[in-house]
C-alpha cells in the first residue's frame, strides 16, 4: 500500500472554485497509483467568523463550547470537498476526527493526539475511496470533541501519515515552499529546497508558520518526509523536510556584506504577531517564586514563550513573559491571583507586541550576530522591549505594527 496524506489549509478550500482545484490535485495523485488521505482545515474565514459570533455572545467562553463550535468548520470542509470529488467522478468519503479514529487527551482548545485507531481509515482506503478527514479535531475517551489548537490540521495530517506509515505527507499552502523570510513581507526572500526537522522546529516556534512545531516533532519522531507545496502551482517543487542536515541550505545566499564566520549562518528571519506580554511588577526575589508562577500557568495548559527576569534590585525583581493573544485573558486571571499570593506589586499586560527572530546554527557561540541584529533594528528606529536567545535563534519583542518592517530590515542585514 503506497499511501500519501495531503493537507490543505483554509485558503485552499475557501470557495467552490478552490474546492474543485483541490479535488483535481487529489484525484491526480490517486491516478498516479497512490491511496490518498486528504486532511482539510475550515474554509477560508469560517473559523474567524465563528469566533466573531461567539465573542458577540460571550466575553468569557467555556473552552469546551469553543471546541464544539470550531469543530464545525472542518466538518463543513470535508463534506464539501467530498462532494467536489464525487462531482468529478472520484469515489470519496468524509470522516470527522472521531470517525477517523483520532483519540485526544481531553484538553479543550489544545488537545494532544494520544492514538489513532486506523481501522476505519484503512477499510475505506482499501475499498478504493479517497478519505477526506477533518483536521484540527479529535475525540477524547468520554466522547467529547477536542480541538488541537492553532495549526492543528498540520498535526492531524502528520499524525495520520505516521499512523498509516504513509510514504509522505504533503502540506499544501499558498506559498511555494519554505522561504528565508515571509515572501509576502520580504519580496526577495529565497525558497529553500530542503530543511531538517530541527530547523523547522525552530522556525515553527518563532511563528514562521512553515509547519506547526508539534507536527514537526511528530514527523521527526517517526522519520516521516513532509513536503511543503503550493496549492495554486502544483508544478513548483516545494521544500522537503527530512532527517538529515543538508549543506546546501546553510549557505544558500551569497552574502554581499562581508564574510560569515566559520560555522555561523542565519537561515531565516521571521515574525510572530500572535504574542502578548505580561509583566509581574516588584516580585519578592525568593527561591520558588518563579516556579510558583509558571507551574500555576502550566496547570491551565497555557503555553508560555519567552521568559525574562531582570536582576534583583533591593530584594525585588520584575518577571516578564509572553504568551499567545488568545490565552492572555485566561493567563491574566491566573497571574493576578498568584501575584496576590506572593505579594507582588502589580501585573501589567500588553498585546500590542510581536516577536521578531533570526534563526541559524551557532548563534550563542557567535555573540556578534545578536548585537548585529540589535544594531540593525536600532538604525531602523525599532525599539526592543524584551530579548531572548537560544543556541540557534535570537528573538526580540517589538511593537506590533513594526514587526513586518523589522523582518525586512533583518532579511536585508543577514540574508541579502
Amino acid at each position: 500500500m503506497r499511501i500519501i496524506v495531503q493537507k490543505f489549509g483554509g485558503t485552499s478550500v475557501a470557495d467552490p472554485e478552490c474546492m474543485k482545484n483541490v479535488a483535481r490535485i487529489v484525484t491526480n495523485t490517486k491516478k498516479r497509483g497512490y491511496m490518498v488521505v486528504v486532511v482539510v482545515s475550515a474554509p477560508g474565514d469560517m473559523t474567524d467568523d465563528l469566533i466573531d459570533f461567539a465573542n458577540k455572545v460571550s466575553a468569557n467562553i467555556p473552552e469546551r463550547e469553543m471546541d464544539m463550535l470550531l469543530a464545525t468548520g472542518e466538518q463543513s470542509s470535508i463534506a464539501l470537498l467530498t462532494m467536489a470529488l464525487n462531482e468529478i467522478g472520484t469515489d470519496a468519503i468524509s470522516l470527522t476526527g472521531e470517525q477517523a479514529g483520532v483519540l485526544t487527551n481531553g484538553i479543550y482548545g489544545k488537545a494532544r493526539i494520544k492514538k489513532i485507531n486506523t481501522v476505519r481509515l484503512i477499510k475505506e482506503l482499501k475499498s478504493g475511496k479517497i478519505v477526506v478527514v477533518a483536521g484540527f479535531q479529535g475525540i477524547d475517551e468520554n466522547g467529547e470533541i477536542n480541538t488541537l489548537g492553532r495549526g492543528g490540521s498540520d498535526i492531524s495530517a502528520v499524525a495520520i501519515a505516521a499512523a498509516l506509515k504513509a510514504e509522505r505527507c504533503e502540506i499544501y499552502k499558498d506559498v511555494k515552499g519554505v522561504y528565508t523570510a515571509d515572501p509576502r513581507i520580504v519580496s526577495n526572500a529565497i525558497k529553500v529546497s530542503e530543511m531538517s526537522y530541527d530547523e523547522v522546529l525552530e522556525l515553527a516556534s518563532l511563528g514562521a508558520q512553515v509547519l506547526h512545531s508539534r507536527a514537526a516533532e511528530l514527523a521527526k519522531k517517526f522519520g516521516l518526509k513532509v513536503y511543503i507545496r503550493s496549492t495554486f502551482d502544483v508544478n513548483a517543487k516545494g521544500t522537503v523536510i527530512k532527517g538529515e542536515h543538508h549543506a546546501d541550505i546553510y549557505y544558500p545566499i551569497q552574502n554581499k556584506k562581508g564574510v560569515f564566520m566559520e560555522g555561523m549562518y542565519v537561515v531565516g528571519a521571521t515574525a510572530d504577531k500572535n504574542q502578548a506580554k505580561v509583566t509581574i511588577v516588584k516580585v519578592p526575589d525568593r527561591p520558588g517564586i518563579a516556579s510558583k508562577i509558571f507551574s500555576s500557568i502550566a496547570k491551565a495548559h497555557v503555553n508560555v514563550d519567552m521568559i525574562v527576569q531582570n536582576v534583583s534590585h533591593k530584594g525585588y525583581t520584575d518577571v516578564s513573559f509572553t504568551t499567545t493573544r488568545g490565552d492572555l485573558h485566561k493567563t491574566l486571571k491566573i497571574v493576578k491571583s498568584v501575584a496576590r499570593q506572593i505579594n507582588a506589586e502589580d501585573v501589567l499586560s500588553n498585546s500590542d507586541v510581536a516577536k521578531v527572530s533570526i534563526v541559524g546554527a551557532g548563534m550563542t557561540t557567535h555573540p556578534g550576530v545578536a548585537s548585529r541584529m540589535f544594531s540593525a533594528l536600532a538604525r531602523a528606529k525599532i525599539n526592543i522591549d524584551m530579548i531572548s536567545t537560544s543556541e540557534i535563534k535570537v528573538s526580540c519583542i517589538v511593537k506590533h505594527d513594526q514587526a513586518d518592517r523589522a523582518v525586512k530590515v533583518l532579511h536585508k542585514e543577514f540574508l541579502e
Copy 2:
C-alpha cells in the same frame, strides 16, 4: 423530576441578540423549578448558506455528505447558545445528537429516530445543568451522522421529551401559536387556543409548518402535551396540542357568508411551496405499472405526496405526482429509468408549483366544500393543475407565485 423540553427554530437563534433572548427564556424556566432541555435548529440562514455552497460545488450531492455538512449548523447553535447561557451565569452544556444518545436508522437526509439513550442527558440534568441539544441530527449504529429531514428539530424535541417523560414540550416560533391561516399571508387569521394531535397532523401534512407531522405522530403516541409559543412574546398564551378534541376550535369563527352544514367545518387554509410535480406521459395501462413506479421511488426513500392518474385513453394513461423540490433531481433519475422499462413516452417535471389546501372534518361527506373551493379559486383567476381530496382536506396544485393569493382567497371564503 419535572422536565420541560424547549425547542427554538432558526429565526430564534439567528444572531447574538436572539441567542441572548433565548438564554433568558430558558433561564427563567429553570428558575421556575424545572429541569430544562433545549433543542435548537441552525442559526438563521446558515443551513441555506451551506446548501448554496454545496450546490456550487456539485450538481449531484451524495446524501451522506449533505448530512455531514448540514449537521454543522445545529452544532454551531448549541455551542453558541451554551456560551450565551454561561455568560448570564446559567450552568449549561451542549450535546450533539450523538452525545445526546439520539440513535437513528441510517437513512441519510430523512432518518427516523430508533431510540434515545438518555443516560448522558439525565446525568447532565441531575448535575444541575441546562442541556442544549442539537436538533435535526442523530447517529446510526455505524457511527454515521444522519439528519432527520425538514422540520427535524421538532421531531428531536418531541422524541427527547417523550424519552425523558417530560411534563411538556414547548416549540418556540416567530408566531404566537397556531392560526387559521399563515398570519404573514392572511392578516386577519385567528389564533387557535387548543388543537388535537390529528388536526395538527393534517395541517402538518399540508405544509402549514405548525409542527412536523412526524413530531405530531410521536406526541400522539406518547400522549405528550406540545405547546406552540412565541420566542418574541413569551407572555402570549400560544396553542396547546393534546389528545382530546375541543369543540371550541370547530367553530371558532362567526361565518358571515351563511350557515355551515351540520358537522362540516373548515379549520384552516394553508400552502406548501416546497412542491414539485412529475408527470409520466402515455403510460401503458396495465396492472402493476403504478406499483412498479412507486415502489422504485419508495426504495430511494423519496416521499411522494399527491398522486393523480387520469382515466385510461386508448390503453394509455398519464400518471402525475408531487414530491419535494429537494427530491426532484433524484426522483427524476429513478422515474426516467422506470419510464424506459415500462415503455412510457416521456417524463415531464415542474417545480414552479405549490399546494394549497383547506382542512376540516367531514370534507368528503360534504362535496359542496370542494366545489366551493374550486369556484373561489376560479373567480380569483387561479388555475388548478391537480386535485386531491381526503376525508378532512382538499388540496390543489397551483402556480408557485399564486399560492399566497390562493390562501387569502380561501381564508376569505371559508374563515372570515
